[in-house]
C-alpha cells in the first residue's frame, strides 16, 4: 500500500479534519463529527438538501456541499453507510421549516439508515422526503430498475435539486425535479484495477492486467462482463451501447455528459475517452449541452471510468446552467440562481 495515511482505521476522521480546514469558507463542522453542512445552512426559506454515504468517493459526498448544491452530508466509514443518527442530525442542521430533500444512492445500508433517520425526524416534526438514485444501468436489468444503484448520476440530481431549492421551490417541487433528473440519467462504469480499503490493506478484488470489468460498481460490485482491455474508443462505444438504448437516448436529444475517473486514472485519459463519446453522440444526433470530465465520483484508488448521460428538458437545462459553488462542482452561471 503506497498510501499517504496515518492510522488506517482513522482515514475518514483524518481526511475530514483536513477537508474542513481547507474549505472552511464553504463547509462547516456540526455537533455531530460525521455531519458537515454548508456554512450558511439552514438557509432561511429554502428546502434543505441532504445526502450521505460511505467514504472513499472523493469529492463525493462532502465535496458537493455548497452554494446552490447540497446543504449537509452524513459521512460514513470507507465504503460503509453513515449512521442513522448522522442522517438525522444532517436533517436537523439544514431544516429551516421548509422540509428536507434527502437525495442518496440505493445501497442497502443507506436505505436502512435513512429510513431510521426519517422515523426520528418525524418525531421532531421535520418533513423529509427522499429520492433514491438508481442511474447505474449495469447494476440490475431495466425490469428491476428499483434495484439499480446510484452512482455519478447523483451529482446531476444534487446539482439540479440544489439549484431548484435555491430558486425557492417547495419540497415537493425539489423532490419532483430531483426524481426527474435521476429518471433521465444513465450511468455505467468500467474498472481497470481493484481498490484497497486502507484498514483492510489488501485489494478488495482483482482485475487481471490486460482485462477490464464492464459495469463495475462504485465499491467494486461485480460488473456485467470481464473482457480484454480495449482502446479508449472501444470503451466509449461499449459504454454508450449500454447506456443509450436503456433510457433510450435518441436523435434530437439534448444531454449533459459526465466522465468521471475512479481515482487512479490520469485525467488525460478521461479526455481521450470523452473525445470518442462526443463523436459517437454527434453521429447519433444527440447534442451535448454541457460536459464534465474529471474525478467527480471516485472509488479510492481504483483505475477506471464512469460515464453518465442525463437527458435535458428546459427545466433541467436551466438548473444545470445555474451557478454553483462546491469543491466538487464549481461553475459560473449567467444566472446567480439563488
Amino acid at each position: 500500500m503506497q498510501r499517504i495515511i496515518n492510522n488506517p482505521e482513522r482515514v475518514v476522521e483524518d481526511m475530514l479534519k483536513g477537508f474542513v480546514k481547507t474549505h472552511s469558507d464553504l463547509v462547516s463542522e456540526t455537533d455531530n463529527p460525521r455531519v458537515f453542512k454548508y456554512k450558511n445552512a439552514p438557509v432561511k426559506g429554502k428546502v434543505g438538501i441532504v445526502t450521505g454515504g460511505g467514504s472513499g468517493h472523493k469529492p463525493a459526498f462532502i465535496g458537493y456541499v455548497g452554494r446552490n448544491m447540497v446543504d449537509a452530508v452524513a459521512v460514513g466509514e470507507v465504503f460503509s453507510s453513515p449512521t442513522a443518527i448522522a442522517f438525522y442530525d444532517a436533517f436537523r442542521e439544514v431544516d429551516s421549516g421548509n422540509g428536507v430533500a434527502c437525495l442518496y444512492g440505493n445501497y442497502s445500508g443507506d436505505n436502512m439508515n435513512v429510513k431510521m433517520a426519517i422515523e426520528l425526524a418525524d418525531e421532531d416534526g421535520i418533513k423529509v422526503r427522499t429520492v433514491v438514485a438508481n442511474d447505474d444501468v449495469a447494476s440490475a436489468p431495466k425490469s428491476e430498475m428499483g434495484k439499480r444503484r446510484g452512482v455519478a448520476g447523483e451529482i446531476f440530481m444534487w446539482k439540479v435539486a440544489g439549484a431548484k431549492a435555491a430558486q425557492g421551490a417547495s419540497l415537493d417541487e425539489v423532490i419532483t425535479v430531483a426524481q426527474k433528473a435521476i429518471d433521465c440519467s444513465r450511468s455505467v462504469g468500467i474498472g481497470l484495477s481493484s481498490c484497497t480499503i486502507p484498514a483492510v490493506g489488501k485489494p478488495n478484488f482483482l482485475i487481471a492486467a490486460g482485462k477490464m470489468e464492464v459495469g463495475i460498481g462504485h465499491h467494486g460490485e461485480p460488473g456485467i462482463e470481464v473482457r480484454d482491455l480495449g482502446t479508449a474508443d472501444e470503451m466509449a462505444k461499449l459504454m454508450l451501447d449500454i447506456i443509450l438504448p436503456d433510457y433510450p437516448f435518441t436523435r434530437g436529444d439534448d444531454v449533459v455528459v459526465l466522465v468521471s475517473g475512479l481515482g487512479a486514472t490520469p485525467v488525460m485519459e478521461l479526455y481521450i475517452l470523452f473525445d470518442e463519446v462526443s463523436d459517437i453522440l454527434a453521429e447519433e444526433g444527440i447534442k451535448i449541452h454541457r460536459s464534465y470530465v474529471g474525478n467527480y465520483f471516485t472509488s479510492l484508488d481504483m483505475a477506471g471510468v464512469t460515464l453518465t448521460l442525463m437527458k435535458l428538458d428546459d427545466e433541467l437545462r436551466e438548473l444545470m446552467d445555474c451557478e454553483a459553488d462546491s469543491v466538487g462542482l464549481r461553475q459560473f452561471g449567467s444566472d446567480a440562481c439563488g
Binding site: 482505521e9 460514513g76 466509514e77 465504503f79 460503509s80 453507510s81 453513515p82 449512521t83 442513522a84 443518527i85 448522522a86 442497502s108 445500508g109 436505505n111 436502512m112 439508515n113 429510513k115 431510521m116 480499503i197 484498514a199 483492510v200 478488495n204 478484488f205 465499491h219 467494486g220 460490485e221 461485480p222
Partner: protein
Amino acid sequence: MPVDEFKNSEGAILVFNLIKIIQNHKVVLSEIDGAIGDGDHGINMSKGFSACRDRLEGKDADLTLALKTLGRVLLMEIGGSMGPIYGSFFIEMSKVSGHETDINQKTFGHMLSAGLAGIQKISEAKVGDKTLLDALVPAVDAFLAADAQGKNFSEALSDMKTASARGKDATVDMISRIGRSSRLGERSRGTLDAGATSCDLILSSMADTITALL
C-alpha cells in the same frame, strides 16, 4: 421443577454476556470476514457492543432497557448494514419484553419473532443468501417449533442453539448474494459467513445465559 421464567429486572446480564462474547471474538470475526469480505466485522461489532457497555455502566438496567440500549447504540452509531440490522433486532426484542416483570418461554418466542421481523423489514436478504439470516431464521423456527411441541424453555433454547449452529455451518457451502462478498460469486463458497457466525454467537450466548437464569 424450576419456574420456567426469569425476571426482567435480572435479565441485563444477558446483554452484558453478549458484549463479552463479541469482544472476545473480535479477531476471529474479522478474520472470517476477511476471507470474502473486508475483514472488519469483528471491529464493527465490537465497536458497537463496547459502546453499549459504556452506556449501561452504572445504570441499574433491566433486560428491556439493556436490549433497548444495545439496539439504539447499534442502530444510531454503527452505520453500515450491521448497525440497522442488529439494531432493529434488539430494539424490536426490547419492545416485546417491555414492562413484563417475568420473561417466560412464550414471551421470549415473541421477542425472537419480533426481532427477526424487524430485520426483515429493512433487509432484502433471504435464507440461502449467506447472511446472518441463515443462522437466525432456522434458530427462531426451532425455538417456536419446540415451544409448539410442548418442550420447556431450556429445551427450546437448546433446540435454538442447535439450529443456529447448523444454520451457520451451512453458510460454508453457500454463494453470497448480498453485501460485499456477493461480488465474488462462485468464489464466495467455501468459507463461513461472518454475520451468520456473529449471529450464532449471540443466539448461543443468549440461550446459555437464560438457561442459567431459569
